[in-house]
Amino acid sequence: MTEHAWLIVVLPLVSWLLISAFGRRLKNEGDWLGVVTIGVTLVLSLVVLWEVAGGAATRVSVPWLVMGDWQLDMGYLIDPLAAVMLVVVTAISFLVHVYSMGYMHGDARYRRYFATLSFFTFSMLGLVVADNLILLFFFFELVGLASYLLIGHWYENLGPRLASLKAFIVTRIGDLAFLVGLAVLVLATGTTGIPELRELVEHHQVPATVLTLAAILVFGGAVGKSAQFPLHVWLPDAMEGPTPVSALIHAATMVAAGVYLVARSFFLFEPSATALSVVAVIGGITALLGATIGVLQTDMKRVMAYSTVSQLGYMMMALGVGSLVAGMFHLWTHAFFKALLFLAAGSVMHAMHTMEMHSMGGLYRKMPVTAWATIIGGLALAGVWPLAGFYSKEEILNAAFYSGVSGAGFAFWAGVISALLTAFYMTRAVILVFFGRPRDRHRYEHAHESPPVMTVPLAILMVLAVTAGWVNAPISHHWFGKLLGEAEVHLAPIVTVLAVGATLLGVAAGYAIYALRLVDRRAVINALRPVYTLVRNKYYFDELYNATVLRGSLRLAEWAAWFDQRVIDWLVNAVGYVAVKLSEAAGKFDLSVVDGLVNGAAAVTVGAGRRLRTIQTGFVQTYILTFFAALVVGLVVFQLWRL
C-alpha cells in the first residue's frame, strides 16, 4: 500500500470535485460521499502506518517544472513521520465528517460545507506526504485557503467574515517568511527535496549561518499557521466558524501544519543551536500566554481555543529543546483529546445555543455523554495519569529538563506553570458548565443530549483520549518513539513529581474556588486587578495590532491616494494661492477668476466641452510640467550617481 500512498491524497480531491459538481443530485447532498471517502483514506492510512512500522518506506518523485538549471519535482515521501500524521489527519477528519452530518443538519450551504471539508482534508494530506518544501508550501497555502472558506462559512454574520479574513491574512504573514526561507534554501543548496536537503545538511554541505537563517524563516511559516506568539491572534477568532471545523482546525489540520512543518524540516533546526533556542523560547512564551488568557475566558469555545494556543506552544517547545518525538507525540495525543473537547463543546452549543459559561451550569444531568466527554478530554488535557496527555506532557518536560539548548530552562518552567494553569482552567470550565445550579433556567429547560450521530464520535474519541498515550508508554515499550527514531528515554523522577504536583494543584485550586467556593473569586480578582485587566484583555494584542499595523497601513493607503490624486490639485492650488497674494499686492483682485483658478483641475464639470477644457488647461499641463521638472532632477542625479 505504501507505494500507492498517492491514493490517500487523491481520494478527498475526487470527493471534493464530485460533491461540488453533482452534490445537488445526490442523496443528502452528497455528505455520505465525503464520509465514505475519508473513511477509506483512514483505512488506507492505517495500513500504511502498519507497513511503515514494519519497515516500509517509499519516495516517488517525478520532474514537474524545469527551468534552466533549476528543477521542481512533484512527489511523495512516506516515512514514519508522514505515516503517523496521515493517521491523525484522516482519523480526526473522519470523525468530524460523521459528527457534522448531525451538527450541520439543515444548514443552508450543507453541500458546500461538505465539499470544502473534503478540500480541506485533501490539502492537509497533500502537505503531509509532500516530498519537497515547495510542494509542501503549495499545500500550506491551500490549507490556509480552505480554512478561510470554512471559518467564514456563516458569512451572513460579521463575526465569521472578519475572523476568516483575519486568519487568512495573519497566517499569510507567516507564509511570507516561509517563502523567503525557501528562496534562501534553494539558492544555497539548489534543491528543495526533503531527503536531498537532509543529506546535504548531514554532510555539512550547507553553511551554518545560511542554515540558521533558513530554519528561522521556515519557522516563521510555522508561527503563522500554528498560532505562535506573536501571530497567535487569529486562532481564537477562528471560533466563529462551525464547531466541527474548529475541531478539525485545532486538532489535526490547520494548526498542526505548522508543527508538522518544523518536524518535517527538523534536520534544518538540529544543527543550529540558535534556531532551536528561538523555537523553544517562542514555544514557551506561547504556552504561557495561551494558558494565562485561557484562565479568564468565559466563553467555553474560547477557553478551548486558548488552550490550543498553549498546547501548540508545548509542541514547539518540545521541538525547540531538540526532541522531535516529544513534539510529534504531543501533536498525536492532543489531536484526539482536543477534537473530543471541541466536539463536546459543539454538543453543548447545539443544546444551549450559547457558549457563555456563566449562563450554563448543571448540564451533567441533561447531557451525560457530553459531560463525560468534556471531563475525560479535560483530564487528558490537564495531563492526569493514565490519560493520553500525561505521557506526552511528561515526555516534553523531560526533554526540556535534559536539553542543553539555551532557553530550555525557561521552556521547562513555562511548561510546568502552564500545566498548572491548564489543570485549573479545565476544572473551572467543567464545573461551570456541567455542575452547580443552572444559571439560565430557560436555556437549561430546553437543553437535551445530542443525537447518536454526534455522540458516537464522542464516544470513540473518549476511548482514544484515554488510550492514545499508551503507544509511547512502558506498556508498549515506547513503540511510538522507536518508530520515529528515538533511541532511549530518560525520565527524571523529579520532573514527574513536578508535573503531577502542578496538575493536582491546578485541579485542587479550581475545585476549591468554583465548586467548594472556599475562596471568593471576586476577592482574588480585586487583589490582582492590574494583572486581571491585562490578561482579561488578552494582553491587548489585538488593540496593539489594530493601532499599529492596521491603522498604519490604512494611513499609508490614504497617504498614497492623497499623493496620487491631490498633489496635482495641491500644486494648482498653491499656484492659485500665490497668484492671489500677488494680485492682492497689485491691488487688482477679481474674485470670480480666483475661484476658478483655485478650483482648477479638481472642479467637477458637466458636459464634454467643459470637461475637455479642464483637462487641457489643468491636469495635463501641470502634470507634464511636473514630469519635466522631475526629469531635469533625474538627469542631474543620474549623471552624478556613480555605479
Binding site: 494648482v572 499656484v575 492659485g576 500665490v578 497668484a579 500677488l582 494680485s583 497689485a586 491691488g587 487688482k588 483682485f589 477679481d590 477668476v593 476658478g596 483658478l597 478650483n599 482648477g600 483641475a601 472642479a603 464639470t605 467643459r610 477644457r613 479642464t614 487641457q616 488647461t617 489643468g618 499641463q621 501641470t622 510640467l625 519635466f628 521638472a629 526629469l631 531635469v632 538627469l635 542631474v636 549623471q639
Partner: protein, 187 residues
Amino acid sequence: MTGLQIAFLALSAVMLFAAWKVVTSDIIVHAALWMVLSFVAVAGIFLTLHAEFLFAVQLLVYAGAITALVIFAIMLSDIRELRGEGEPAGAGLGRRVRRLVSRRLGLAPAAVAVGFAAVMYSVYRATPWPGLPPGDPAPSTLAIGRELFGTYVVPFELASIVLLVAMVGAIVLTLREGGREKEEKRP
C-alpha cells in the same frame, strides 16, 4: 564665428520665440500662425546643416500641409480662444502678474525649460561626439529614395498603417451618425 553659425543661432532664436508664442497665444489662430514661423525656422536650420531634402520636406509637409490642416480644423470647430478655467482673464498689471505664475504661461514652465536646456547643454558639452554618422554626408534625394524603398521598405509600409489608423480614428471619433449616436445615460 562663421556665417553659418550666425545663421544657425539666429534661426534657433526665431524658432524658440515662435514656439513660445505658440504656447502663450490666447487666440488660437495666432498660435497656428506662430507655429508656421517655427516650422519655417526649423527648415532653415536643416538648410544650415546641409540637409536639403529635409529642408524641402519640412517646408512642404509641415509648414504647408500640416498647418493648412490645423487651420481648417480650427475654422471648423467653435474654439476661438484658448483659455481654460484656470487661466487669468482681464487686463492690466494684475493680469500680467498672474500670468507670470500661471501653469501655462508663467515662470515655472520657463524655469523648467531653462533648467532642462542647461542640463542638456552640459551633457552635450561633456560628450566627445563621434562626428558625423557613417554614410553619405549629404545624401541625395536618390539615395534617400533607394534607402526608403530598399532597406526601410518595411517600416515605410508600417508607417502607412499608422496613417490608416489615424484616419480611421479621426472618422470614428468625430463622425455623427443618426442611428448610432443616441445620447445614452450611464447606468
